[in-house]
Assembly symmetry: C2
Homo-oligomer: 197 residues x 2
DNA sequence: GTCTATAAAAGGATAGAC
DNA sequence: GTCTATCCTTTTATAGAC
């Protein structure tokens, strides 16, 4: 019971910190989001914060992991096909801090030896896999031709999604979901097969 | 003459610095590229570097400006159509530092009040304009249907290009040019008109 | 134009008390 | 689990000599 309570409290505090980190990132950007300010938002000192996350990098990675887990549960299911991705993007519009963290941190992490590089490599492969599954379902239900090169289409859609997020951060009036939906309609209805197959 | 020589020397040093900045960014990333190391590469102290560029941000923006200017002269011409973009991307593969700077710095600069935000906003509008011009040329020469929504296609191509660059930084074996060429063939040959028009 | 010297700040991380 | 206190590093930027 005491032990249980301690764990529960620790987990609650961690969750609180993850939310605070998002707030600060949304306001100042990932680069200028200091541990001190994140800590202050949850009534901790910087040292107190470091007790929960060994390093700053672990904190950011944990934020992104939690996001992926939530998105997976809330929006993804193989039978939903492409709609799953569209729902994720529609949801992203409501969490600009998360979009900013993803865009900024994924860019920074591409450098060799960066502590978050492996995370993004693995995440990319994982997302590609999910998207390919979703596209296969679209083929099975015959909303999409059977000849398309799925890995190519998946990577292209991911690239467009990532690029759109930067455009959206610069101009939030852009409707990311509508644009992706339009891209998807283009892929679906395409007579691309002879080219993309 | 003396004056001329001074200017020439100053300009040469500036150019040297821009190259050095790219080297350091390629190795450590934009975030970890310190003024000190850039200065050291050209045999200057950090203070000496600051004489040429008032701030770090001006230096980075200048690097990107010089790149755009060069790309414009070397690769872009309205009558070349989409090939201009393909050539730029093919060239990008040979300058990873530039790609890294662009990806990382454009992400960071999306934050409100960032000194480079205006630069990226303007650059984005400029690139979109060039691409639309190029696409119009493709239509004129009837390599592409007349019904397509050009601004939409342009933004989508830019998004895909930007997203591909992140993928490429994580995995340099990806052939960005081939993927964009394939996207372009898809757009071109598409029976998208009823959807995208 | 370049250097030396220094400011002045901010950052992440750790040790040890409670 | 959290705080206080502190360390140490690194960074950008400036002032003034040469």
């Amino acid at each position: 019971m005491t032990r249980r309570g301690q764990y529960a409290k620790g987990a609650a505090k961690r969750a609180e910190i993850l939310d605070a980190a998002l707030e600060v990132v949304a306001e100042h950007g990932c680069r200028k989001a200091s541990n001190r300010e994140i800590a202050a938002r949850v009534g901790l000192t910087q040292a107190g914060l470091m007790h929960h996350f060994g390093t700053r990098e672990e904190l950011f990675i944990e934020v992104l992991r939690a996001r992926d887990q939530r998105d997976l549960e809330q929006f993804y299911a193989p039978h939903r096909g492409f709609q799953g991705l569209l729902d994720v993007i529609a949801h992203n519009v409501t969490v600009p801090g998360l979009v900013r963290l993803y865009v900024e941190y994924s860019a920074e992490a591409t450098i060799a030896g960066h502590p978050a590089r492996a995370f993004f490599e693995e995440r990319f492969a994982w997302v590609r896999g999910l998207l390919i599954e979703a596209l296969q379902q679209e083929q099975i239900e015959e909303r999409m031709g059977p000849e398309l090169d799925l890995p190519f289409v998946a990577d292209l859609v991911i690239a467009a999604t990532d690029g759109l997020q930067v455009q959206w951060l610069l101009d939030p009036s852009i409707d990311m979901t509508a644009r992706l939906a339009r891209l998807w309609e283009g892929v679906r209805a395409s007579s691309w097969p002879t080219i993309l197959a």
